[in-house]
């Protein structure tokens, strides 16, 4: 890989760290450098350490590393927090006129720039971070003019004067460093490429609009709020709307209502919101309503660490809710996949009239990364709404009394949908067990038919859809690494490092949690298998182990009546005789 530069700005929350970092990230992106950003932040509006880090290179970068080359430190704590990442040759920019005296270890170069004074010269102390950016340009040999477009994008709404002042501030910073210092080893190479820069939440929002999502209801929660903020205003341009609900219980029910009205509909939240939404999740599945529910995971349980990374919700998403609830759980592994998998989630939801959990995690949600714009090809977007009837085709789905059958027991499990307003389609949907017409039933045969019908949709999907993985590295390597979610980028880069030491690894990046690919052959072929995930218990590892276990025969019953001794004896006798189906006996 071409040489990378690792840069950061750190200070207190409220110091404008985030927007300053974003300006530098955008400037590098437009100058043809690949960028990968990360944030250290706390759940508070002011005070507390916060930092924005950028790794960039002319080659693709998809992870952070533990090395920092240039650091803009607005506080001593910024230096202290990053001491272990600074190295011989690192440069720290600070403002010696501020009240603290920077303590900088000997082998690190301190560059003292009067950020505040220079900013005041340019028109206001508020621009001190931009002065710092200008200083950084001089240190890393990056033309200061290349900041201009990003400054216009950031400050354009505040008027020409503000933009010009900021451009001046940047130049003052650059000029100061060029006059007072020399001999830096860094040189930021630029290329003719032009990239887009976005985070996972934005990619999910953009994917939703592309997929025809028109209704979003949500309740603000870190780190999923960016999805809602992205869609607000933008989705309206396409005939949609965002509703801020009073809580997550309401959000999922509004989204459910919109989906019943025929809209492609979604909500996004994080773990605590998933807990609340689980109340309605079973209703979504039982009423066979297509709905995309996005979980942007953060560290739990309970309030946990709201601004920290974890992939701890897997079991909750797979098993959450009382009773047995058919569902799909898909987890994009990169930011661009957040876009593509969101579109896929909407298609799956409607084709199979089943709720889809779309799972992202904090580090992916708030991390920005560069991509070629072609990676978001809107012309390639395909929308499949599944079986929907209109005023004419509805005739094929009426019973002998001309009643529409929303839960028709079709061979593939997928019944037709009639959007409200369709003539002759009026029907009931309910969280109660129901017959094909949607009317409440406790009849044992109808109960069994409907449970099996809903389950059969998942079986159909397993057969019909592609539940594959991304395969990296040497297919014959002794060591097999399996992972899910946002770890892909870091693992791919780790493989480069391992390979240079002579260690070959095969890596399977799995975006489908349920259904998921059967990895038994791949595991069998390897000498050792490692499952990588951001949680304590190894929840995905449990699933992988489960998948390769010996199968047991099953005796099940779900018609609402308990086992009786005679039928159990019969069922077990059938198993012993071998007269029952190989893997399943229904009592």
């Amino acid at each position: 890989m071409a040489e990378d530069l690792n840069w950061a700005i750190g200070g207190e929350a409220g110091d404008g760290i985030d927007s300053t970092g974003k300006i530098f990230a955008q400037a590098q992106s437009r100058a043809g450098r690949h960028v990968f950003t990360s944030k250290d932040f706390a759940s508070r509006i002011r005070g507390g350490y916060t930092a924005y880090k950028i790794r960039s290179s002319t080659d693709r970068v998809q992870s952070v590393v533990n090395r920092l080359d240039v650091l803009v430190a607005l506080t001593q704590r910024t230096i202290d927090e990053n001491l272990d990442e600074l190295h011989d040759g690192s440069v720290v920019v600070y403002d010696g006129e501020r009240s603290w005296e920077a303590e900088i270890p000997g082998d690190i170069t301190g560059v003292d720039v009067p950020l505040k004074s220079l900013a005041e010269d340019a028109g206001g102390a508020i621009m001190r971070n931009v002065v710092a950016l200008g200083a950084v340009c001089a240190i890393v040999d990056f033309p200061v003019e290349k900041l201009d477009e990003a400054l216009e994008k950031r400050f354009g709404g505040k008027g020409e004067k503000i933009v010009e002042n900021n451009k001046t501030a940047a130049r003052k910073g650059a000029d100061y460093v060029e006059e007072e210092y020399d001999g830096f080893d860094y040189s930021l190479e630029t290329t003719d490429s032009d990239y887009v820069l976005l985070n996972g939440d934005e990619a999910i929002g953009m994917g939703a609009i592309a997929a025809g999502c028109r209704f979003y209801a949500g309740y603000p929660i870190t780190p999923a709020t960016d999805v809602m903020e992205y869609l607000t205003g933008r989705i309206d341009q396409f005939g949609g709307h965002v509703v801020q609900a009073e809580d997550e219980l309401s959000a999922i029910n509004m989204a459910l209502g919109a989906a019943r009205a025929g809209a492609r509909s979604m909500t996004a939240t994080s773990g605590p919101g998933i807990d609340l939404m689980t109340e309605t999740f079973g209703l979504v599945a039982t009423s066979e309503t297509p709905l995309v529910i996005c979980d942007v995971m953060r560290a739990g349980p309970s309030t946990g660490m709201p601004t920290k990374q974890e992939q701890g919700d897997l079991n909750s998403l797979l098993y959450g809710g009382h009773g047995e609830i058919p569902r799909f759980v898909i987890a994009p592994t990169t930011i661009s996949e957040c876009f593509h998998k969101t579109i896929e989630a909407f298609n799956l939801a409607e084709q199979y009239q089943t709720p889809v959990y779309l799972v992202a995690d904090l580090s992916m949600a708030v991390t920005e990364q560069t991509f070629a714009p072609e990676e978001f090809d809107m012309d390639a977007v395909e929308i499949d709404r599944g079986k929907v009837v209109d005023d004419d085709s509805i005739d094929h789905y009426l019973d002998e009394q001309d009643r529409f059958q929303p839960h028709y027991d079709a061979a593939d499990g997928v019944s037709p949908r009639a959007f409200p307003g369709t003539d002759g389609g009026a029907h009931m949907s309910t969280g109660l067990e129901h017959d094909e017409l949607g009317r409440r039933t406790e009849d044992t045969d109808e109960r069994i038919d409907q449970v099996e019908k809903r389950q059969r949709k998942v079986e159909t999907a397993k057969q019909e859809e592609d539940w594959s993985y991304r395969d990296y590295g040497d297919p014959d390597a002794d060591t097999l690494v399996i992972s899910w979610g946002s770890n892909e980028g870091a693992i791919v880069e780790a493989m480069d490092a391992l390979q240079s030491e002579g260690t070959d690894v095969r890596f399977l990046s799995v975006p489908y949690i349920f259904p998921r690919p059967d990895l038994s052959e791949e595991i069998e072929a390897a000498e050792r298998t490692v499952v990588v995930e951001c949680n304590a218990q190894g929840q995905f590892a449990d699933l992988i182990e489960h998948d390769v276990l010996e199968r047991v025969q099953r005796v099940t019953k779900f018609d609402g009546v308990r086992f009786d001794a005679d039928e159990l004896a019969d069922a077990i006798r059938d198993v012993v005789d071998g007269s029952a189906a190989a893997d399943e006996v229904t009592a």
Partner: protein, 287 residues
């Protein structure tokens, strides 16, 4: 919409399992009449029902319907209406569904002022679970879970709605078939959130708030000089702890419903086969 819709077209072929004499029969009949009288038909009507005796209404009516989770009927109705403003949306539930487990949603649905109708079958008791205190039960009302009465004041749903900024507040009585249907019809015709609290007696578990009690005590505002557009008069009726009223108590003639206020006018069910026109602009924004 056909002009020859009769209210019985809104009846499903399922026989209600409500107790003989239950107020919910009259409440439902009035809703069906009001829907037919306002030119709706089952194929453009969406009924959302809560949980409890009242929640069974979705099964006994014929229309597009969802019978959902306890207490969350209002958010479902909001979602339906916002997504397709051409539909007539009616939400129905009980006093437990609306003022206890769903009280939070009630307040916010009122504030949101989506153009739909909310009919609460208020029998001041939990019927389906066989007779426990509800949020509108009297302070001294003895039940299996409150042998000496709940010893807390009942919720005043009219005051709750008013405090949340309701644009239409009404109260009716299931047994007064004509007035009940008229009042629900006015709620349907209101541009915004039409809230009707219906006294719908439970003949099995509530021997205090009975048909006789309401017949004897209810004052019909239509027979007084009450002006629903006068907020001060409405407040006096709402806060009158002595007299039970029925009729339209308050109506804000300047109400602008949610969809109109936010410019949400399209049926969101209609989308193109691929990404919408102009979607590439979304990508370019990230330069």
């Amino acid at each position: 919409m056909s002009s020859d819709v009769r209210f019985t077209d809104f009846k499903s072929d399922k026989q209600p399992t409500w107790c003989p004499g239950c107020g919910d029969f009259g409440t439902m009949n009035g809703m069906m009449k009001a829907l037919a009288n306002t030119g709706n038909d089952p194929d453009n009507t969406f009924v959302v029902a809560g949980i409890g005796c009242s929640g069974k209404i979705g099964t006994y009516m014929h229309s597009y319907a969802l019978h959902g989770v306890h207490g969350r009927a209002l958010p479902v109705g909001c979602g339906v209406k916002i997504a397709n403003p051409d539909l007539e949306v009616m939400v129905a539930g009980g006093d437990g569904d609306g003022y206890s487990i769903g009280a939070g949603h009630f307040v916010h649905a009122v504030r949101r002022n989506v153009d739909m109708t909310y009919v609460v079958m208020d029998n001041r008791i939990y019927g389906l679970t066989k007779g426990q205190a509800s949020p509108t039960s009297r302070e001294d009302f003895e039940t299996s879970t409150s042998p000496d009465g709940p010893k807390q004041p009942p919720v005043n749903p009219l005051a709750l709605a008013h405090a949340a900024g309701a644009t239409f507040i009404a109260q009716s009585f299931s047994s007064d078939a004509q007035r009940h249907a008229e009042i629900v019809q006015e709620a349907i015709e209101h541009d915004g959130f039409g809230f009707v609290n219906v006294f719908s007696p439970c003949v099995t578990f509530n021997d205090v708030d009975t048909y006789d009690y309401f017949r004897d005590s209810l004052v019909d505002l239509a027979e007084t000089d009450h002006d629903p557009s006068d907020e001060q008069q409405a407040k006096e009726v709402i806060m009158d702890g002595e007299t039970e009223h029925m009729g339209v108590i308050y109506q804000d003639d300047d109400s602008v419903p949610f969809n109109e206020l936010h410019g949400v006018t399209e049926n969101m069910a209609e989308i193109p086969d691929g990404a919408p026109d102009g979607a590439m602009d979304l990508v370019r924004e990230f330069y």
